[in-house]
Symmetry: C2
Subunit: 416 residues, 2 copies
């Protein structure tokens, strides 16, 4: 028995007395039995996670996750929050004051962006060329906003011309676009997009969950108004804490809201105060995931020590090596145009005569390597290989290619 102390009989008597009084202690006793499965030890096998995320975490980040907890308003935790803000400003290349981490996963950051910026009378234009645009459109519709989707087939990206036509036709107050479309493997070019949006009185919201740290993004220089990412991709921290930043333009739109956002947990006004972004004394809002922000802090520190440009180059180098190796195996890359291939997540067509599930299962069972099948519009069509952050090494590329060669030999001509 853990933590249990022998209790004096007087306590049991006290509890019975309180029970009789019918006040604090229920008259009844537990009937739902002990869950037997919980009495087994926790088993966490080691795997090489080369899917589209999460990626493996480094020993340094793991150590941070195993630290003892502190109080959420202790000076050391507030310092960690300040460090995180500075780290995000560097990683995003922004000087936005309203920069912080959402206490949730990437989806939660997406929701935080939309819930604070959209009201019922807003129109949002969504670039949908994979699952993330669909997701943003879904959330915006739940919030009562008017949503128009610009559609492109999976594997393609939006040109400035596409966007310009959409802006002119629908006159949205916000454009949503995905920088790293991890369901298709496309890297959306961002140059000129901010300027174009601003000319049309529209905010630019960019999802960089799968790309941040792995491909160049320069929030201020590119005129991005809202940018967010996840912790479990190229930052290689556990999921659950998601960097986000808002430009002055975005902040002003939030200040002009007529209604309060339909969430307290994600209310950016409260979060800004809690994270010390407003220049006023910090106000308790919720309890941040302490272990999670220790990990995020270390992950951002690792990126800062390496340097953004080195990180971009590293991801590009391993992606290039991977793409070459895949082609050498006779496989066909899903994204034709090299310049718009996402360096962090590579998509490759499922070769004819193979069942994708058998390939991923073989890699997992025989090599303890995870890669993924498609998602949403690419389901059944592609395999997705992620080389992100701590996992973005040439050794991992070579290990994967060897394993994949093995899989292709063993899974051929399977039943479909």
């Amino acid at each position: 028995m853990h933590r249990a102390a022998a209790l004096p009989k007087s306590i049991a008597a006290l509890l019975r007395a309180r029970s009789t009084a019918g006040c604090a202690m229920a008259a009844s006793t537990p009937r739902v039995p002990l869950p037997r499965e919980l009495l087994r030890p926790l088993a966490v096998p080691h795997r090489l996670l080369l899917g589209p995320g999460p990626s493996n975490v480094s020993p340094r980040v793991r150590a941070a996750g195993g630290q003892q907890i502190l109080g959420h308003m202790h000076p050391e935790v507030l310092q960690v929050m300040d460090d995180i803000k500075a780290g995000i400003q560097y990683a995003f290349q922004t000087q936005n004051r309203l920069t912080l981490a959402i206490s949730g996963t990437g989806h939660c950051a997406m929701e935080a962006a939309l819930i604070n910026l959209l009201e019922g009378n807003d129109t949002m234009l969504v670039g949908t060329n994979g699952i993330w645009g669909q997701r943003a459109a879904d959330i915006a519709r739940r919030l009562g906003a008017k949503v128009h989707e610009l559609l492109k087939p999976p594997g393609e990206y939006f040109t400035l011309q596409d966007i310009q036509e959409g802006l002119a036709q629908h006159k949205p107050s916000m454009l949503f676009i995905t920088h790293g479309e991890s369901s298709t493997g496309v890297l959306q070019p961002l140059e000129g997009l901010g300027e174009l949006c601003h000319r049309h009185g529209c905010l630019l919201l960019v999802d960089a969950v799968a790309s941040l740290g792995g491909a160049p993004i320069l929030m201020d220089q590119q005129g991005i108004d809202v940018l967010y990412t996840g912790s479990q991709k190229a930052l290689s921290a556990p999921p659950g804490s998601s960097p986000i930043s808002f430009s002055e333009r975005a902040r002003e739109k939030m200040l002009r809201r007529k209604t309060r956002p339909p969430s307290f947990y994600l209310d950016m006004d409260c979060l800004a105060s809690y994270w010390g972004c407003s220049g006023e004394p910090r106000m308790y809002h919720h309890t941040v995931p302490i272990s999670g922000i220790f990990c995020l802090r270390e992950a951002l520190a690792i990126l800062a020590e390496q340097g953004l440009e080195n990180s971009w180059e590293q991801h590009q180098a391993v992606c290039t090596r991977l793409c070459q190796g895949l082609q050498d195996l006779g496989l066909e890359l899903f994204v034709k145009e090299e310049a718009v291939r996402l360096p962090t997540v590579t998509t490759v067509r499922v070769p004819e005569g193979y069942n994708w599930k058998e390939i991923t299962a073989f890699l997992m069972d025989k090599h303890s390597i995870e890669i993924s099948g498609g998602l949403g519009p690419t389901a059944g069509k592609v395999l997705r290989i992620g080389l992100m952050g701590y996992n973005a090494t040439q050794d991992n590329v070579d290990r994967l290619l060897r394993a994949l060669r093995d899989a292709l030999q063993h899974c051929q001509h399977s039943r479909l």
Copy 2:
């Protein structure tokens, strides 16, 4: 430099070429400088956390938090999710199928409950005798629901008579009440409440963030329709993963919704499918905080191994010892009636001639012990002492009482 590999010059050339093409690589380069504060090592001093949460985590839970990550759809992670469901069913004493952990802190679980159960035409009755009722009322109003508050002074609780009058007058579809009012130190009696609510066609929603594991609560036997808690209180896991459960009655109300909840992240229909509560194949919804759920699993296992009744008795025993010790120091307990004192968080009046901030600062600086001041309606009036989960030991009571005696000697007659 961490992880950085020497990159062939050809990569740099490739990147420059892509930059010129204006496609994937921005023409500009990073200008926001390295954040110096991130280059310092992470410092996490050891503290005894005897505030109202978070509490210290046990070595076993810390080890779980430092484990390597797995994919969010790996069988081992799905097993951990199943273990957690069983652990919550035991801790809550429920057989509800719709039982899972929200990927957020306790506030997020509160929001998940309200966002799924309330629509614009709903009326909610809120028992407000501290900050948590105020918070629930705030969220419900954001969601467009009609909110009536039953008010009681801090330190008091609601009788069945109070509730009955409120139900008869306002005819709400849901009653919100806080089991462990951590801002005031009150344990709300729950006996008869479920039956009363159901007689009035009303659902009973109970916040047990500060009480679960520390005071008896029997979800099914007490007729509670929605129950949630946090991970960082008596469960002694890091914050960021919050158990929640819904009765069949609550589930049926959600099924009758005319509008979709204004959140994708917290949509219980999607979460039920992801957590395997619906009896159908699991659907990916978001990436659960992997490290967080490893920790939560271990925390629930510790509670199961100890046994619920032992845990309740242990918390009661240390609370009794603490209350006696505080009175022996000449201090006055804030909650007069012994039977409704929350065993996990004890409130004591700030003694005359003392500044509460000096006492908490003294304990922190000289003894590395955290206790807290008041919150919301008790701000400035009380000190709050939490003895929860891993920290609920007689040794900690004695250590705190010694430190407090020291503080009372040194901080007396301070300027107010």
